[in-house]
């Protein structure tokens, strides 16, 4: 990640020591040195369980220490920083006053009901608590970029789930979405944050989709690359937890969830939910835990299909959430495959869902 002047000189070593003293190369080395300056990061936590912070600590390469010493200048992070009380709040005030550019990371949703009193950090000079809502607005306005980390910051998450007792909102509804990068997932994944910070540092804003998620991590559905996909194609479904087959009937949300879990498994690549015998619960999806009618283990589509006991497919009440075309396509595809298999017909060529 870090390319220092020393690294550069080392890399350029093949050119011979004499060349290194040339004015041209020393200029290049200086430019690299300038770029090395770690950009300031201010990481604030609202309605969160700190699970995203915990998740980021699982980063392998770079390590946590590499991140703090080489990638970013982590000015504020409540779970890690030494300072407490007004000493730590002064860091935020300083960031608001200074001309220095910084990246704001927001973890957790933002409660807005009753002027945001459901989450506060620090007090003002009159001893009044300062709401998280105010911090997000003020720091967000000042920040160069804002990374909304995790499902709560991206979509609102569980705090915003029905009946949303605190008026919880995602970051893009609080500040100008144009500077926001969304990293959904409950929790967010270490390589997503590392990837985004590295991209911002080296190349600027990464390519984002219409929901402001980096394409490099969120362009594929879990279902697209799922290792149980062959079982789906054959219509061979798990009936209970731990059966290593397609989890569709157990409510798998792989068909509506954009994330890269099948490609980069979890915790140093050891496992991931579907390989672990349980369905994807759609933790990075916009609909995660959203409404009471949207159960974690509830099968995605909702109507009966004659001839196939147990498989209810047709009507598409999730269409409003994920886009009718997407889920409709999946169901058509699923049914095409299942019927073909059951009747031992030749495989029909069915359009991919997207």
């Amino acid at each position: 990640m870090r390319l220092t002047r020393r690294d550069f000189i080392k890399a350029a070593g093949g050119l011979g020591a004499a060349l290194l003293t040339s004015p041209f190369l020393s200029k290049v080395a200086e430019a690299i040195e300038r770029e090395k300056k770690n950009f300031p990061v201010i990481w604030i936590q609202g309605q969160t369980d700190a699970g995203c912070s915990e998740s980021i600590l699982n980063t392998v390469q770079p390590t946590v220490v590499d991140m703090v010493t080489d990638i970013m200048s982590l000015r504020f992070h409540q779970t890690i920083m030494a300072a407490s009380g007004h000493q730590c709040i002064s860091v935020l005030h300083e960031a608001l006053k200074s001309d220095e550019k910084f990246i704001l990371v927001v973890e957790g949703s933002v409660p807005t009901k009753d002027e945001g009193v459901y989450c506060t950090i620090g007090e003002d000079e009159n001893g009044r608590p300062i709401t998280f809502l105010k911090w997000v607005k003020e720091l967000g306005e000042k920040a160069m970029y804002v990374v909304a980390i995790g499902t709560c910051a991206t979509w609102g998450g569980i705090p915003a789930a029905e009946p949303n007792p605190t008026g919880a909102k995602p970051v893009t509804e609080i500040i100008d979405p144009k500077k926001v990068i969304n990293l959904p997932g409950c929790p967010a994944r270490p390589h997503h944050l590392v990837g985004v910070l590295a991209h911002l540092k080296l190349f600027g804003l990464p390519e984002l989709d219409s929901k402001r998620r980096p394409m490099v991590f969120f362009s594929r559905l879990i279902h697209d690359n799922c290792e149980m996909r062959p079982f789906f194609e054959k219509g061979d479904f798990a009936k209970s937890f731990g059966e290593k087959k397609c989890m569709y009937l157990l409510g798998c949300k792989g068909p509506i969830t954009y994330n890269d879990c099948p490609n980069y498994q979890w915790n140093s690549g050891l496992n991931w939910p579907i390989r672990g015998g349980s369905p994807c619960i759609g933790c990075a999806a916009e609909s995660f835990i959203g409404s009471t009618g949207n159960g974690i283990y509830m099968r995605l589509p909702e109507a009966k299909v004659p001839g196939i006991p147990g498989l209810k497919v047709k009507a598409d009440k999730f269409g409003t959430i994920v886009g009718a075309a997407t889920i409709g396509g999946i169901i058509a595809h699923a049914m095409g495959r299942v019927l073909a298999h059951k009747k031992k017909k030749e495989e029909k060529k069915v359009e991919e869902e997207r």
Binding site: P40, T48, D49, A50, G51, C52, S53, E54, S55, L57, T63, V65, T69, D70, L74, Q78, T79, I80, M81, A82, A83, S84, G85, H86, C88, S90, V91, P111, D114, E115, V117, C119, T120, E123, P129, I158, P159, P163, P165, T166, C186, P187, F241, G242, W266, N267, S268, L270, W272, P273, G276, G277, S278, P279, C280, I281, I289, T292, I296, Y297
Partner: protein
């Protein structure tokens, strides 16, 4: 004249927490503990599929999700009238052990150590370790920058009596770095059986989802042994070294000395036998645990629901304008008494029960080597010591449990969600006794209540005006400099608070701190 000091926020804990203290003659005279964030989990759980509770309640806390999954699964097992098979029970224990390893190590090194260790000692480092040299160079350059936030997030910090011994500081900094790797390794141990971590998908009603293979057993074992080595060669020696450097902290932060533990690590499938012994330790005597004695009082909590309810009848009706209330954390009481929960409670209760000789021997030997008696455990350092000793014990036990797994045997029990039922699940989060209570009606959640460890430890005064556990533990703590109240945060952090479900004392209309009257 008492001086009022507010520490908002308290960092290096989970969640949003602040305290207000009155300092008189260099000591804390009174204290109020406030949670600063509210989400309304129990309200959100209503009307949902009971099965969802395992995944939803994990998101209460990203540090101890597994504990919530466990409490929830046990509540569902009870409500569904099922018990897990051997493998299911053992794997749940192994997942819980992984979370304990992760949390205790992270807590001591990455959350607490900066209250004692002098990070600037790195500038004196003369060795060859590349990571240490990298940090040294970084700190040197940062300090040169002259910024107020130079070497953030490790500076600025409170002025205080940090460790002066250079070698001890350097060893601790080295282990601070290593601890991140150990915590990550412990997370991997959980993911082997849980699918992923934080937030496992592999704990399900009736057991777990992941099957047993020899490869998984080996994968867990290798990691466990690596961490055991760290416990023996780093964690226990470091806690001992800090204990020797700060002997007076064995006398600070005692609190009520009433302890509560629900027991954890099931030794039979019905869950009636656990490795850690459940019990209530009141006025120096150990009683059998009866969850019927738990009531939640809300006179000073901002709820309009009735006070003194058992969690089965518990209600969560927020009332921001309730007179006298100064927090959203309820005040749970056991037989009307405030109770401390956590590793101190688990170790003392298990030790006093006399049922686990290895626990009693380890506690006795440690106290003897430090020249202390058992009363010294009721203190800031006593809590850290109990945490370290507990980890050593459980790491040893986990290896035995692991080798009891049998490939090709079932890992879960089939179930159906009943139309109407109820159940509760009691377990231990890393930071103390955790209970979930569920009532099911028409196959849906009618009522769900969680009484979490930080409600016990971080809660407010009860209906009679008796202080909460941390509030009481703060009383009498010396404060050398009210501008740098490092002593107060040392007391608070010894409890490993995890504040994910409470809120501040604010009137939403005026956005002002409410004037609360303390009985």
């Amino acid at each position: 004249m008492a001086k009022k000091v507010v520490i908002d926020p308290i960092t290096r804990i989970e969640g949003h927490y602040s305290i207000e203290i009155e300092v008189e003659n260099g000591k804390i005279k009174d204290a109020w503990a406030r949670g600063d964030m509210f989400r309304g989990w129990e309200i959100i759980l209503k009307e949902r599929d009971p099965q969802d509770a395992i995944n939803v309640t994990q998101r209460i806390c990203g540090v101890c999700p597994v504990a919530h999954a466990m409490a929830s699964a046990r509540a569902l097992d009870a409500a569904f009238h099922i018990v897990p098979p051997d493998n299911g029970r053992i794997i749940r224990n192994l997942i819980a052990a992984g979370n304990l390893l992760h949390s205790h190590i992270l807590h001591f090194y990455n959350l607490v150590a900066l209250d004692y260790v002098d990070i600037t000692a790195i500038l004196d480092y003369k060795g060859n370790d590349p990571t240490m040299n990298n940090i040294k160079e970084w700190v040197k350059n940062e300090v040169k920058s002259g910024r107020n936030t130079a070497a953030a997030p490790f500076l600025p910090r409170y002025k205080g009596d940090y460790i002066k011994d250079k070698d001890l500081n350097l060893t601790a900094i080295n282990h601070y770095v290593k601890a991140f790797e150990m915590a990550r390794t412990a997370q991997e141990m959980i993911a082997i059986w849980g699918g992923k971590m934080p937030h496992v998908t592999g704990i399900v009603p009736g057991g777990v989802a992941e099957n047993v293979t020899a490869e998984k057993i080996a994968s867990y074992l290798y990691r466990l042994r690596k961490i055991k080595d760290f416990i023996d060669t780093c964690y226990i020696p470091d806690v001992t070294a800090v204990a020797k450097a700060y002997p007076r902290w064995f006398k600070i932060g005692a609190g009520y000395k009433n302890l509560l533990a629900y027991g954890i690590f099931e030794l039979n499938n019905e869950g009636t036998q656990t490795y850690h012994i459940p019990g209530a330790f009141i006025d120096g005597k150990l009683e059998n645990l009866d969850q019927k004695n738990i009531k939640e009082e809300v006179f000073y909590a901002k709820y309009s629901s009735p006070t003194g309810l058992h969690p089965f009848e518990g209600e969560t009706v927020p009332d921001p304008n309730k007179p006298n209330a100064y927090t959203w954390v309820k005040a749970p009481r056991y037989s009307s008494k405030p109770m401390e929960v956590g590793p101190l409670a688990r170790m003392v209760i298990t030790h006093v029960s006399g049922k686990r000789s290895e626990v009693s021997n380890l506690v006795r030997d440690t106290l003897k080597s430090l020249g202390l008696d058992v009363s010294a455990l009721f203190s800031v350092l006593g809590r850290h010591a109990c945490r370290a000793l507990e980890l050593k014990i459980i790491a040893d036990e986990a290896e035995k449990w692991l080798l009891e797994l049998k490939p090709d045997q079932p890992v879960n029990t089939k179930y159906e969600v009943p139309k109407e039922s109820e159940g509760f699940g009691l377990t231990e989060a890393q930071r103390g006794a955790l209970g979930h209570w569920i009532k099911i009606k028409d196959h849906k959640i009618e009522r769900y209540q969680c009484v979490v460890p930080s409600t016990w430890n971080c809660g407010p005064r009860d209906d009679k005006g008796i202080r909460g556990v941390i509030e009481e533990a703060l009383i009498g703590t010396p404060i050398a400099d009210p501008e740098n109240p490092i002593e107060a945060v040392r007391v608070v952090r010894s409890f490993d608070p995890c504040l994910a479900c409470a809120i501040h004392v604010i009137d939403p209309k005026t956005n002002e701190i409410r004037k609360f009257k303390v009985a």
